[in-house]
Amino acid sequence: MSTASGFMACVLLLVSVGMYFAPDGVKDRVRSTVTDSLRPGQMAVRQTAKSFRENMAAWATKSTRSQTREIDQLHDQLRLEQSRQAALQIQLARLTDMQLREMSTPEPLRSLPRLTSSSLIDAAVLGEAVAESWRAGKLLNRGDANGVRESSLVVQSRHPLVDLGRDGELSPEDALLLGRCVIGKIERVGRWTSTFILLTDSEYRGRAQLVHQTESGFVFGAKGILKGQGTSKCRLEGIGTSDAVAIGDAVYTTNRDGLQGTPLYYGRVIEATLGVDDKEWKVLVDPVPIPRDLDSVQVLRTAINTERLAAGS
């Protein structure tokens, strides 16, 4: 150890002794000077720690919310895929049934085309602002004189719009699809646009039937009427007490209301109660989730088959 360091140590030890015996007034002044000089740093450290804690809490909340949102989206996708799979299985069963019938039908009758034909057409859902402008006639620069005004029924309705009307050969009651799932139907058809109601709207009515999944495949069950209630769930009415209903049963359109005879998916039974004095089951159905930012749908059109008209004439 060098002389300088030894000298320094002695000086400091003497200072320490001096500070120990210093008067209280001197000690207080020294203390207050030191604490005042530390105050800016202390405030900065506390503020930094507080910001760090707040950012960590916000990050944790955000990541939890985004994870929850992601999980919900994955659940929705899973349900849609499951319903699509079920619809494909039913279509397969239906095609097999048709093939068997055709093989047993006499030759002349088999060549006759169907009276009606159904087809799918894509339609865009008009946003609220565009729909409002459309109803107010702001999007058309020619007025009633040229006969290009939209139908008053469509204009007066408050329901959402799709961008197809009579020009797209739509009809009232045409089903509105998302994939192979029914989400609503056409309410009023205008010249260029049409209004639609969703499954969950209180005005919605549709023929439906239960489909039970068994080990040996799908079994068609009782038929009823699916009604919207203005809430997120629908009610299936007309299921008698002698019919079987189970939670988890799928609800489809009836055979004749599907796509070329193939039933379309509505949703799943989540509640089925039968009271002592009830004449029918009280069945609650969870419909297919509808995206909040719905911008395009498919419309199931049913029209007279011109081939049949030509064959009959």
């Binding site: 360091s5 740093g41 450290v45």
Partner: protein
């Protein structure tokens, strides 16, 4: 100058963190900041400057603790002297023995501090209890010292060794030129 400014900044940072965040922690959870800062000062500077800055750290700690002024200054000076004696051993040590040394310094400072205050206050002290509490406090806070020194001195040791390896050939060249 840069080194002195760095040491002063290190001391200021240690003291503001110790007096703002650390003061809110339970006693057993209070970290080792002053002791580790002391060791870093001694490692980073020449002997006289190291003792000076160590004493400065001790004196400012006195003002924060509101105990008798001069006690921490004296203890810090004595510890810095002891560290100067041990300093030649550091260069030959690996990080783990250095971290263990830091743990011992923490315990020793706690022990010295409690004994000194007890004597100055005229209390009769049970040396076993004092030693037990000092070891307990040092262990709980020294665990962090072990982690920091394994990382810090591991890096610092490599830097010092590389500087020695560079300096040795230069000395040999210098001797050859003479």
């Amino acid at each position: 100058m840069l080194r002195h400014a760095g040491i002063l900044s290190l001391i200021y940072l240690c003291l503001v963190v110790q007096s703002s965040l650390v003061a809110d922690l339970p006693e057993l959870g209070r970290p080792f900041l002053p002791a580790v800062t002391l060791v870093l000062i001694v490692a980073w500077s020449n002997p006289a400057a190291g003792i000076f800055w160590s004493g400065f750290l001790g004196s400012v700690l006195d003002c924060i603790s509101a105990d008798r002024l001069g006690v921490q200054l004296g203890l810090a000076t004595i510890l810095a002297l002891g560290l100067q004696l041990l300093k030649p051993l550091w260069r030959s040590c690996h990080a783990l023995p250095l971290a263990a040394m830091a743990l011992v310094i923490c315990a020793f400072w706690r022990l010295l501090s409690q004994m000194t205050h007890a004597v100055l206050n005229g209390r009769i002290v049970d040396p076993h209890l004092v030693l037990k509490s000092a070891v307990r406090d040092a262990t709980s806070t020294g665990i962090v010292a072990v982690v920091v020194f394994i990382i810090g001195f591991g890096l610092l040791g490599n830097i010092l060794r590389s500087r020695n390896e560079i300096a040795a050939p230069r000395r040999r060249v210098g001797m050859a030129v003479r």
